[in-house]
Amino acid sequence: MQLTVLVLILALLTVIGFQMGRSRAAGSVGGRIVELHSVPSYHGFYVALWAGLPALLLFVLWNASEGWLVMQMTLAGLPDRLTQVNEQALNLLRADILNLAHGISTGRDSDPAVIAAAEQYARLRAIGSWSLLVIGTCVAMGGLLYARRQISPDLRARNRVERAVNIALVVCSLVAILTTVGIVLSLLFEAVRFFTVVSPIDFLFGLHWSPQTAIRADQVGSSGSFGAVPLFAGTMLITVIAMLVAVPVGLMAAIFMSEYANPNLRTWLKPILEILAGIPTVVYGFFAALTMAPFVRGVGQSLGLGVSSESALAAGIVMGVMIIPFVSSLSDDVINAVPQSLRDGSYGLGATKSETVRLVVLPAALPGIVAAIMLAVSRAIGETMIVVMAAGLTANLTANPLDAVTTVTTQIATLLVGDQEFDSPKTLSAFGLGLVLFVVTLTLNMVALRVVQKYREKYD
């Protein structure tokens, strides 16, 4: 409630600040705007910034730290017998206090001291949000009045506003770096915790994957072993099948569209590939599981082959179809980048169209095509929904495309969906797999970019 009120007050003060700044600037020169350094609206923006920004910063900092601070204050008030315990018990205590403070029963009889602490916590939070409301309003008012006093014909309001905007732009462009850092740190942090339990050697080279760990110590049959080779092999198998579908079809489609199809036909073909590219992966997954897998199984049975109902072949074919437009649009770009003069030269020597394509255009476009294929491989490795829905869950170390295999992404998804404790090696292993996935796809992308840069033929 206080939050909404504060946001509304801030918005109101910002608008008032803008109006006030603008009219005061115009008033300070008696309406002869020419005498101002900056036009009045910049004075308005200047005052509005002073009214809004400091209060907003305070608001963000306060919200980030309030819960932690209040918890520390609450814990400090508790008797030592409750707080002088190990980290886990302390976490439990914190969770209990939070739950009780939000009126959620902990499901067991709580220590009266804990209940009192929860009340204390709720009281402090209430005081906190009220004081934030008051302090926030004061800061905004203070900023507004400070900026308003500064307004004079010589105030370089535009330059100051522009500097603020510039800083905001830089911060926005840093979000991309922050995201990467966040990905790397979160993967590394959890993966390191995983590797303290399971050695990286066992993880990367172990041949047996069964992540079910024992919940009770005396439980039978779920020792938990984390050898990821079967997952890597399964991922490779499905990726290879997908590439066998996507590369020939995508490449030939790109060649046909750029070299053979007349513009009329192209206006029909391009949208078809674009639609294929725009279909969500969950739809492909549904198609793979409910249409392609039974079809492959039926064909296999009619040929007398035993096909698993979650065969790698079905998932791979559908994934290949998904990647066709990716390969074809990237190849289309590089093929079109080959200069016409090379083709004309080839035709001039009497080569046919296919000879020109095979012997002149493709070699010239090769680095780009190789890069496109590498990007497609990275796409296939990272694709999740098709394999989650259509590939199996059992880790088979096999090269038979008719068998069910599991992949890295399938395992990540199944390990982390549903109830889980954040500390078990089972959950953490998903982050280990995620780290491998991230490193592999990143390497493929980097190498693809390098290939393009290094081996690109420069024609002009």
Binding site: S173, M252, P280, T281, F286, G382, T384, F422
Partner: protein, 421 residues
């Protein structure tokens, strides 16, 4: 002499054979290309065809007409199921024994009493009267009426036993079974019972998630693009940012889910299954798309515009905000819509942050538990009932409809506002 020799060389048998071979190779090559595009088109047709043929029936729902006496005593106990059952027994008088009546009970949807209860509580004067009501039939009746369950199959292998089929025949003869538009599909949340399950909850969840995504990724993305394209000095830092953006665009989406799980849920303690977290993750994921599209749009504005603005005394920032940005806006908008449509279809990262939960209620805010349309499709696809397969396909059609709408809008905007300088 030499002319004759060359003539003979290029008109020799070997030459003709070679030429034929080369032309044949040419034909084969062209055929392979045609085959490739045909194959891609066929796959698209098969994909869409299989979904439409599986799913169009889900837009229809079978209902039963019952002559219900709204008994005051039962209404007091809120036992509306008993009223419906009595009405059903009265309409199928030939079935009398207990065991068969139990089968008969299963023809009614377990949601049917709530429909009746809602009707009565809206109009209490109905109590004590006899009313003709249309209530939802169970999904098996629905499947039978749509012809998905055949009566030629032996009873032991059929989902509906002979008693039920007999009852359905009796009701059909009375005109008490009819199939109409399935409004439940578009108004209800998820349910374990197919005939009560709808996608409205998922649509609202998708909408809330997309709102968060858009509010975050569009301003940040456009600002980053403006900075990199218009203001950034060429140095190692901006190179690093650019490499970063290009790499982020190629990071598998599930990795963003791991990021969301570890950072937003684990570190910041945001609620699980909430659209706000989903929106945050999606925003990070679509950010590179929007930045790249916006940069292309900004780049296509000719430098003469900037020079003219600077020449009459505009500051660099004024040049961008007053002239370059408005001219680049259609392109930015198109890129944004395409980024949003990609976010709308994305599933994998949302599985990681717990949006794959069974949620019956329609989410009312950004922190309520919610699911989104693609995740709903994923969850329904796992359900064994045929009625759910049908609804999955229908949900896919709705999702594809939204995507087509968004992409159509993008194409329209591009066509309408595209400028060539």
């Amino acid at each position: 002499m030499s002319v004759a020799a060359s003539k003979s060389r290029y008109q020799s048998e070997e030459f003709a054979a070679r030429l034929r071979r080369r032309y044949a190779a040419e034909q084969r090559f062209k055929l392979a290309g045609m085959l490739a595009v045909t194959l891609a088109s066929i796959m698209l047709v098969v994909l869409l065809g299989s979904i439409v043929s599986k799913g169009y029936t889900a837009f229809l729902q079978t209902k039963m007409r019952l002559e219900v006496t709204i008994d005051p005593a039962l209404a007091q106990e809120r036992n509306y199921m008993a009223m419906l059952r009595q009405a059903l027994y009265a309409q199928v008088p030939e079935i009398t024994d207990r065991a068969s009546r139990r089968s008969l009970n299963e023809l009614l949807s377990s949601g049917a009493p709530y429909e009746l209860e809602a009707m009565v509580s809206k109009n209490p004067s109905l109590i004590g009267t006899k009313q003709t009501v249309w209530v939802r039939a169970d999904d098996e009746v629905d499947q039978f009426a749509k012809g998905a369950i055949s009566r030629d199959v032996p009873e032991s292998e059929r989902r509906l036993n002979d008693i039920k089929i007999k009852a359905i025949d009796t009701l059909t003869a009375q005109g008490a079974i009819s199939t109409g538009f399935n409004t439940t599909l578009f108004t209800a949340g998820d349910s374990r019972e197919p005939e009560q399950a709808g996608i409205w909850g998922a649509i609202v969840g998708s909408f809330l998630t997309l709102v968060v995504t858009m509010l975050l990724s569009v301003p940040i993305g456009v600002a980053a693009a403006v900075y990199l394209e218009e203001f950034a000095p060429k140095n190692r830092w901006t190179d690093l940012i650019e490499v970063n953006i290009n790499n982020l665009a190629a990071v598998p989406s599930i990795i963003f889910g791991l990021l969301g799980l570890a950072v937003f849920l684990g570190f910041f303690g945001l609620p699980r299954s909430a659209p706000v977290v989903g929106g945050l993750v999606m925003a990070l994921m679509t950010l590179p798309v929007i930045i790249i599209a916006s940069r292309v749009a900004l780049k296509s504005v000719p430098p003469s515009i900037r020079e003219a603005a600077l020449g009459i005394g505009a500051s660099p920032l004024q040049t961008v905000t007053h002239h370059v940005l408005p001219l680049a806006l259609p392109g930015i908008l198109t890129g944004t819509i395409i980024g949003m449509s990609r976010a709308l279809g994305e599933t994998a990262p949302l599985l990681m942050i717990g949006m794959v939960a069974f949620i019956v209620d329609i989410p009312g805010g950004f922190t309520d538990s919610a699911t989104v349309l693609p995740v709903q499709i994923f969850m329904w696809a796992d359900s064994p009932e045929r009625a759910f397969t049908e609804r999955t396909s229908a949900a896919i059609m709705v999702l594809l409809g939204f995507l087509i709408l968004m992409n159509g809008l993008a194409v329209f905007l591009r066509k309408k506002f595209e400028r060539r300088w």
